[in-house]
Amino acid sequence: MATATATKDKSVLWDWLTTVDHKKLAVLYLIAGTLFFVKAGMMALFMRIQLMSAENDFLTGQTFNELITMHGTIMLFLAATPLIFAFMNFVIPLQIGARDVAFPFVNALGFWIFFFGGLLLSVSWFFGGGPDAGWTAYVPLSSGEYADLGLDFYVVGLQVSGIGTLVSAINFIVTIINMRAPGMTMMRMPLFCWTGLVVSILIVFAFTPLAAGLALLMLDRIFGGQFFIPDMGGNAVLWQHIFWIFGHPEVYILVLPAFGIISEVIPAFSRKRLFGYTAMVFATLVIAFLGFMVWVHHMFTVGLGPITNSVFAIATMGIAVPTGIKIFNWLFTMWGGKITFNTAMLCASSFVPTFVLGGVTGVMLAMVPVDYLYHDTYFVVAHFHYIIIGGIVLGLLAGTYYWYPKMFGHKLNEKLGILMFWLFYIGFHMTFFIQHILGLIGMPRRVYTYLEGQGMETMNLVSSIGSFVMGAAILVLIINVVYSAFNSERITVNDPWDARTLEWSTPTPIPEYNFAQTPQVRSLDPWFYEKVHGDGTMKPAEPMTDIHMPNGSILPFVIGLGLFIWGFGMIMINMDDTIVPPFLVIGTGVILTFGSMLIRSIKEDHGYHIPLEQVKKIEKEVS
């Protein structure tokens, strides 16, 4: 065993590029996710400006198509997913009482691959425009015949970033199953860990079909495959099946962690334990299972026949049952509780009715004959934005305000927080509630303009104004982050909310090893149990000894870079004139990627030990 302690004189940049600490990776995910979120949000605002009035010429149809594609793609893959991963990375090891994740190296690898994949997707703007076939990239719209170079960036960029998501998911599953502290049985695990586990399993089983589908499309576009070309024996509907076998579970991949956050925040600020914990766990599992059984409800109008459509319609409506269980359990948790309405709780509690609204329109869309009417109208747009913004974004905001003190050592300003919440909530409903009606009167989605005199002008104007109010809310949040960094007091207590789960038992700032001694868990809500039944500290499960920690490594960054170069080289095959031959670029990328993997497998890295005296010194400083 190597015992050399890592030297502390590394530069800050090098430290962040080589870090394998789950808490630092969480911050990296948070920053990257926020940047992409702001980018995709601005794209949405551009689209709303275009749709503000009839026959507007602010944008061309082509630009609008590119914006609509990139808005959806970035929001789902490069904003929501990493923001969820940020919280999962930060919170899950702490909540299960672990020193780190199971594979710290793989954790860093997941981040850098995701990041470079996102970058590859983003640089499409500099090579003749972004992808323009919608985030679903239906063939033949996305085939070589109709879509330009932008779609190659979509196919390859998503592939790369998907690999990153996949390896992170495997890491989370193993962490949660193998690394729990003594006494932390599965049925004592906080709900956020449960949803984290289920979501990671969903990612393994849903992102792989996406990877396969993207590979098929890439082979078609770059290497002359015939998968989706009917003239050559191919089948265009095949893409839709593969895409939605991924695409429907993706909704749950995003929304289940939000459920998890809500299930942490609501009990904490209602001063009650979560109502119906067991039912909540099983509802999560049922939702995850049914999530895979309903993909055809995206394809009712394809013409698969009444039997197929009916089966999938019923399965889809079935999801309302476990979701309903969850909704009622949150309500019963709040019922009779001593509720504190701070920003986190406002976001969490307002999530409940908003999500119900999105769910109800979901059941409406699950009725096949009715879906024929709503299909490809703004009703669908309104429905999924109620799920995604009213569900996922509100959940993420609640999580941000709730865990911020633990992550950064100070709270966010409450006054600005509450201002943000109301701006966001009012702006959100203003933008999207009216789109239900727009859809019902026949406004089609994905179309860059509409004609005058069809009664759509006023409602579109209201919707656009609402989107700007929402934008202002996010601006207030960013101001709040900057303002609070300079003006709010460092928190002196480790548990500012008087919360229930293990992460609040750690000192702030958290030492790199999280827990000096692995805690002994004696109950559900272990930290709250010790505060009520114990002496207010966690019982240690092991004596205090040297702590073994993993070494940092630059290899994850290099592998990410290698995949970026490799992917770019593949896209260069379709470019007209390139300065260097594509195969040189591909070769460089392949060598970087596999070379780093080879180095990693040949060089044994046993990590290092923090000696006991140093642990004691650190513990004295933070307590």
């Binding site: 079909p209 396969a212 589908g213 495959g225």
Partner: protein
Amino acid sequence: MAGSVDLSKGLPSHPEKSTLEGKNKFLGFWIFLGGETIMFATFFGTFLGLREGTAGGPSAEELFSMPLVFIMTMLLLTSSLTSVLAMFSMKKNNFKNMLVLMIVTVLLGVGFLGFEIYEFVEYVHHGLGYTTSAFASSFYTLVGLHGAHVLFGLCWITTLIIRYSRSGITLTNAPKFYVASLYWHFIDVVWVFIFTVVYLMGIGGA
């Protein structure tokens, strides 16, 4: 945690999962194989959907040769057996035996890959290019992806053999060898499905 295994009485009977690191690798790799299964399932589904789409090009019945596929299957199945025996040797702490069996596994795998390359070259001569038809694309993609897995597995096991040729079985390298042999089995199982779905159904015309 990592260093807490008592080695005074020799290696434990399951050196591959007696440390937390080994346990993590073991579980993580099984989950990875779960993902691989789904990926192959998608390519199998694609092949099944498109195998009639020959667009006037050569079809499965015209191309596939049973003796060739039989030899390939035998090579791969045997290599799977030798990798199992290698793991038995590891659990008995017989390092030399394990190494020899792993080398045999690699040689059999190389043989398989050689026949596969020969097969592909032959098909191209018979007019089945990658872009000929949807059948061609899905066939080469599915079988070729499996071939790529074989190649990756060969590189992986060879690296392990070279890297640890002098070290004996340790708690560090036991999980690595074990996981590599799991991967090799997985490749073998996938081949059994390819043999059935692609070749038997192709020749039988089911």
